[in-house]
C-alpha cells in the first residue's frame, strides 16, 4: 500500500520535472537542435550575453516587472489594510471584485483591455498598456497575500502606540509598516516573477514594438530558429523562481 503510493508519487514528480529538467540539461549541450547530446558547453550562455535582441527583451521584462512589483505591492498593502481594519459599505463587493481579475480567463482579460486601450482610452500600446494590465492582475494577488498574513498578526501593538500618544502617521511608520514588512516582501517576491512571466495578457496589449522576454520566446518558438537559445533563457526562467521561493522561505523562518 505504502510502496504503491510512493511509486505513484515518484511518477508524478517525474511528470512535473522531466520537461523542465530536459530544458536545463540540453541548455548545456553542444548540439543546436533536439535532444542529441554531443558534449558539455557553456557557449550558448555566452551567446546569450552577446545577443542584443534577447538582452533588450530581458531589460524590457525587468523594467515592467519592477514597476509592476513596486506599484502593485504599495496598492495591495494600502488596500489590504483598509479591507482588514475598517468596516464600510460595499466591502464585500470590493473583495469579490478583486477576485475577478484572478478568475476571469487571461484571454478575456487581455482581449477586453486591448479593446479598451485601443478603442476607448487611446492609450498607446507598449509600456503604458502593459504596465496598467500587469498592475490590474497583480494588485489583487498582493491584497489577498497581505490580508492572509494580517489575520495572523498581533494588533495590540498598534493600539498601544496610539494609546501612548503617537498619531496615526507615526504609528504607521513605527509599528504597522515594520510589522507588515515580511508580508509586503513576500507579496513583492510573488508579483515580480508573476509579471515577468506573464505571456497571455502581455501578448494582447503589447502592440508591435514592446517585445518582453516571454513574447520574444513565443516568436522564436513559432519559427524555431534557435532551440538551444530557448533552452538557455528557459534555464534562467527556472532559476528565477527557485531564488524567489528561497527568499520567501527564509523570510518565513525568521518570522516564526
Amino acid at each position: 500500500m505504502k510502496s504503491t503510493l510512493f511509486g505513484v508519487t515518484l511518477l508524478v514528480y517525474c511528470f512535473l520535472w522531466t520537461p523542465a529538467g530536459l530544458l536545463i540539461v540540453y541548455s548545456f549541450s553542444k548540439n543546436r537542435f533536439g535532444i542529441k547530446w554531443e558534449g558539455f558547453t557553456l557557449k550558448w550562455y555566452l551567446h546569450l550575453l552577446n545577443s542584443p535582441s534577447i538582452n533588450a527583451a530581458i531589460l524590457k521584462s525587468l523594467i515592467i516587472a519592477s514597476v509592476t512589483m513596486v506599484l502593485a505591492t504599495i496598492a495591495g498593502t494600502v488596500t489590504a489594510y483598509g479591507l482588514y481594519k475598517y468596516k464600510f459599505r460595499g466591502k464585500k463587493l470590493l473583495r469579490t471584485s478583486l477576485l475577478l481579475p484572478i478568475v476571469i480567463p487571461y484571454v478575456v482579460t487581455g482581449a477586453s483591455l486591448l479593446v479598451f486601450f485601443t478603442r476607448v482610452m487611446h492609450i498607446p500600446l507598449g509600456y503604458p498598456s502593459i504596465i496598467i494590465a500587469h498592475i490590474t492582475f497583480s494588485t489583487p494577488l498582493a491584497v489577498f497575500v497581505i490580508m492572509g498574513r494580517m489575520q495572523r498578526m498581533d494588533w495590540a501593538w498598534e493600539e498601544a502606540s496610539m494609546d501612548l500618544g503617537a498619531n496615526r502617521l507615526t504609528t504607521w511608520r513605527k509599528i504597522t509598516i515594520p510589522f507588515l514588512l515580511p508580508a509586503v516582501i513576500s507579496s513583492a517576491v510573488l508579483i515580480f516573477p508573476w509579471s515577468f512571466n506573464d505571456f497571455t495578457i502581455t501578448y494582447f496589449v503589447a502592440g508591435l514594438g514592446t517585445t518582453t522576454l516571454p513574447i520574444y520566446i513565443f516568436s522564436q518558438l513559432q519559427y524555431s530558429l534557435e532551440p538551444v537559445i530557448i533552452n538557455v533563457t528557459s534555464t534562467i526562467f527556472v532559476a528565477l523562481p527557485v531564488m524567489g521561493l528561497f527568499i520567501m522561505s527564509v523570510l518565513q523562518k525568521e518570522r516564526t
Binding site: 510512493f6 508524478v12 460595499g90 478603442r119 518558438l221
Partner: protein, 292 residues
Amino acid sequence: MRLKDKKTGFLLRHTHLLHVAPVSVWVVLFVFAPLVIVVYYSFVSTEAFGTIIPTLTLKNYEYVFHSALGRILARSLIYAMLANMACLLMGYPLAYWIATQGGKFKAFFVFLVVVPSWTCYIIRVYAAKMVLEESGLLNDIFLRLGLISSPLEMLYTPGAVLLGLAYIWLPFMVLPIYAALDGLDPSVLEAAADLGATPLHRFFTVTLPLTKGGIFAGTILTSIPALGDWLVPYILGGNKKWMAGNYVQYYFVVRGDFSIGSSMAVALTATVILMIYLFTKLGGEEALERII
C-alpha cells in the same frame, strides 16, 4: 472604526476611503469598464478598421453559435474537465504522500511542487513539446527500448493537449489538497481506526470527505484556467483543434474582428462564472476560502 479619534475631519472619519478608494477606482476603470465594453461589442457590428455600427444585434452570437460556439465551447469544457480529472488523480496521491510521509522534509517536497508553477507558462508548454515531439524524449526512449520501430505521432493530437493542460495546472491541484490534508485532525483518523475501520475504508469515509474543500478549490484552480487556455492547443495541438481561447485570440489578434471575438469572450466568461458558482456550491465555503 476601532481606533479612537478626537478629530472629526471628513477624511479622518472616513480613513478607509484613503485605503480603498484608489483600488476601487482602478477596478472600475480597468476591470469593469473593459468587460462592459466587450459585452457592448458583442451586441453591435463592426466594420473594417473598427467603425461601430451602433444598432444592437444578435448577429455575432448567431455567427459564433453556428460556426463554433457549441463545438468549441463543448470541446473546451470536455478538455478542461478531463485535464482536471488527470490533475486530481495525480495530485491527490502526491499531496497525500507529502502530508503523511513527508516528515521533516514536507516543506521541501511542497517546494518541489511549487517551483514548476512559478516557471514561465510559455516555457513549460515548450518543454512539454520537447518531450512529445517526433524527435523528442518519449520517442527517443521508446525507440531505444525497442517498444516501437518508428516514432509515434504524439504532438498535435488531443492527447497532447490534455497532457499539456494537466502538466501546466497540476501544481494548483496539489497545493489546496495538501493544505486540507495537512490540517486534518489526526485524532479523527485514530478514532476511525479504533472503531475498526480498515485503512482503505477509513480513507473513503473519513479522509476523502474531510478534504472535499481542498479538492474543489483545486478543481476551480485547475479547470478554470485550463478552460481559458489557448497556448497549449496552439502549440501542443498544432492550432488544429481550437479551444475557446484560440477563438478569442484569432478574432482579436489575427482578424481584428472585435465583435465576433467579444461574443466568444462573453460566452467563455459566462461559462467560467457558472462553473465557479457550481463548484463552490458543491465544495462549500471552504472551497472558496482555500483558493485565497
